[in-house]
Amino acid sequence: MSRVKTLQALFKRYRRPGDIVFAWLFLAFALFLLFHLTSQTQYKPGGKVFAQPRFWPAVSLIGMTVFAALHLLGSALSERIEGRWREVGFWLRSLEYAGWFIAYAAAVPYLGYLPSTVLAALLLAIRAGFGSPRVLGAAVLSAIAIVLLFKSFLQVKLPAGQVYEYLPDGLRQIMLTYF
């Protein structure tokens, strides 16, 4: 019993609810990758072991699996913390904003950088619960400032929006170059 306690003492630290769920998922992921090691990497006959394309994936995946198993052991031996599934729920809520990010990225080549950024800022501000014109205005102004800084001033490489093609000649050129 005392030995288990000591093991707990060695492993238990900084834990939060949901730790064991992550530990299981990570171990499963490591095992999945390790299982595919031979099919996803090659071994060149005659070459030195250290120079094999399989060498570093093998080292990292074996290390990942061993450490993940020990991490899981540490989690399993530690006292259970309430709120595991509530925590997993919190993680899953981040998927919504990951979706927003991808949708914003997908919209840029069609709508153009300036319109999609302003739209994303406005919609996200409404989604985040802001209703006052002051905050919504601040979100829009910040979005415009970001576009001006990165696209107009720093000339960061971003595609021009397809809708810009429908603009009158002079304006189109400006929008294609700076926004």
């Binding site: 000591t6 949901g18 992550f22 090659q42 994936p57 990942m64 998927l95 904003y97 994303a120 802001f130």
Partner: protein
């Protein structure tokens, strides 16, 4: 001296000056906003700096890196929320001082202690340079490989109490950099026959996902908050005189910062704890620590500001980054085909000295800026957190998409954003993944090139420097085992706490 002048010449341009100004003032502002941090800012700006000349881009990023901790002290002192994770200890003594009505004294001491630490770090770096210039060329492939192994080991072991988690995440980082086409044999590795994986997983995509997007998601999901610090009345320049009364503590703390900063994977957090403990042990009023001790505040701020300059040592001399921020800077060097390492000191010594001078200048710019802008910064802190989340999300897009205009990169970054959020919520470290990616790449390349001259495993350590690094690796492992045995015998259980150096970066 002529190297110094050559460095000056490199910096004496309007665009470099502007980059330094934007970087250092921007860094202070970013550091002052809780929940953003220099890693997020550097990750977002990184692709934008690729189109700039190396000295311009590096100066801007260096400005953010070196100045963010100055800004981070402000909310730590005024609202008990560290602006960056490394200012955590500052709040221990800074906030009680604010509650006692000594906000100006605390803020002012924090600024000047940071300045002292910053300058001390750079001075050490300059004094060390001739030694580095001699030692660095002695590092061949074997030595750099072993140093990278030591770096990985230290990153894992430095996360005490989370060694297993840090280990699995560092290994995950090493694995990530192997995905795609192998550069030597041109064989596919873990692409699962998907074309988008053939080009591998980009470091910047991972960094932006893990640091920036995860923070955006976190802020957007969490309840909205808007801190309201009280304005600081009076002149912040008063702290200089009080700091000079505690110069022993400030210098010792800066010394810890330099030492810890040079060791990969250790960094500001350890330096802060060591210097804080030292200051408490040697203080005439040890009971005051944690209740508003000026010495505690000085120890914490001087130590963390000495680190950025010291962290440049392994980066510039060996091309080995010690933590996530220098790992990101390494990619700027690579993009411009300036390879940090032994050759840098031989071929681009002017660039090295230019970076040193930039570090000095940024400290001067920052302290001057802070003397007049403290109350402006207290207003910036009041940005609602969810609005901040929206801005980080929009800014992250520029960082990811401008790399190669790829929607797949955005999807990957979003995936890493979710992973980063989970890690932050679980109090697990993110830095091992980034260092695993960078050091894993270095280990693979250097081991391959070293193997040409190695016939038996013992040949790996037949040179003096390689042997010393190998002994250091053994020593680090032995010390860790000894600590584990001692803990086992003493049945010590450290109290659980929320704070960790990777948490807010």
């Amino acid at each position: 001296m002529e190297n110094f002048l050559a460095g000056f010449e490199l910096l004496a341009r309007w665009d470099v000056g502007l980059a330094l100004l934007i970087g250092s003032i921007g860094g202070v502002i970013i550091g002052a906003i809780p929940g953003v941090g220099p890693a997020v800012a550097i990750a977002i700006l990184l692709p934008a700096t690729f189109s700039l000349e190396p000295i311009v881009g590096l100066t801007m990023l260096l400005g953010i890196y070196g100045s963010s901790m100055y800004g981070g002290a402000l909310p730590a002192v005024l609202i008990n929320t560290p602006g960056t994770a490394v200012n955590a200890l500052t709040s221990y003594d800074g906030y009680p001082m604010t509650k006692r009505g000594e906000a100006l004294r605390a803020v002012s001491l924090a600024y000047f202690a940071s300045f002292w630490g910053g300058l001390f770090g750079i001075l050490c770096l300059i004094l060390l340079s001739p030694v580095l210039a001699i030692i660095a060329p002695m590092f061949g492939s074997r030595e750099i490989f072993l140093a990278a192994v030591l770096g990985i080991l230290l990153v894992i072991l430095a996360h005490r109490g989370q060694v297993m988690a840090a280990g699995m995440l560092a290994m995950f980082g090493i694995f990530l950099q192997t995905i795609g086409l192998d550069a030597v044999t041109y064989t596919k590795r873990f692409t699962f026959d998907m074309t988008w994986l053939s080009s591998g997983v980009n470091l910047i995509v991972v960094v932006l996902g893990l640091f920036a997007l995860s923070q955006a998601f976190m802020l957007l999901i969490s309840p909205n908050d808007s801190p309201h610090p009280q304005p600081v009345q009076g002149r912040p320049s008063k702290g200089l005189r009080e700091l000079l009364r505690h110069k022993r503590v400030a210098t010792a703390a800066s010394g810890f910062g330099v030492l810890m900063g040079m060791i990969p994977g250790v960094g500001e957090f350890t330096a802060q704890f060591m210097s804080y403990t030292y200051a408490q042990r040697t203080s005439k009023q040890p009971d005051l620590f944690g209740k508003g001790s000026p010495e505690g505040l000085i120890a914490s701020e001087a130590a963390n500001n000495a680190v950025p300059a010291a962290a440049m040592v392994p980066l510039l001399a060996l091309g080995i980054p010690g933590e996530a921020l220098t790992a990101m800077m390494l990619s700027v060097f690579y993009v411009h085909n300036v390879i940090p390492g032994p050759q840098l000191f031989q071929n681009n010594i002017d660039l090295v000295y230019a970076l040193y001078i930039a570090l000095i200048l940024l400290n001067v710019v920052v302290i001057c800026f802070l003397m007049v802008s403290t109350n402006l910064l207290t207003k910036i802190i009041q940005v609602p957190t969810r609005l901040l989340g929206i801005l980080i999300l929009i800014l992250s897009f520029v960082g990811v998409y401008s790399l190669r205009n790829s929607l797949t990169d955005c999807m990957m970054a979003a995936g890493f954003g979710v992973l980063g959020l989970i890690l932050k919520r679980l109090n697990l470290p993110i830095v091992p993944i980034i260092l695993g990616m960078v050091l894993g790449g270095i280990m693979e390349v250097k081991l391959r090139s070293a193997m040409a001259r190695v016939k038996t495993p013992l040949d790996m350590i037949d040179r003096p420097l390689a042997f010393i690094i190998f002994l250091t690796i053994l020593l680090v492992l032995a010390l860790h085992v000894r600590t584990l045995i001692r803990e086992h015998r003493a049945r010590e259980q450290e109290t659980d706490h929320d704070m960790h150096d990777t948490q807010l970066r």
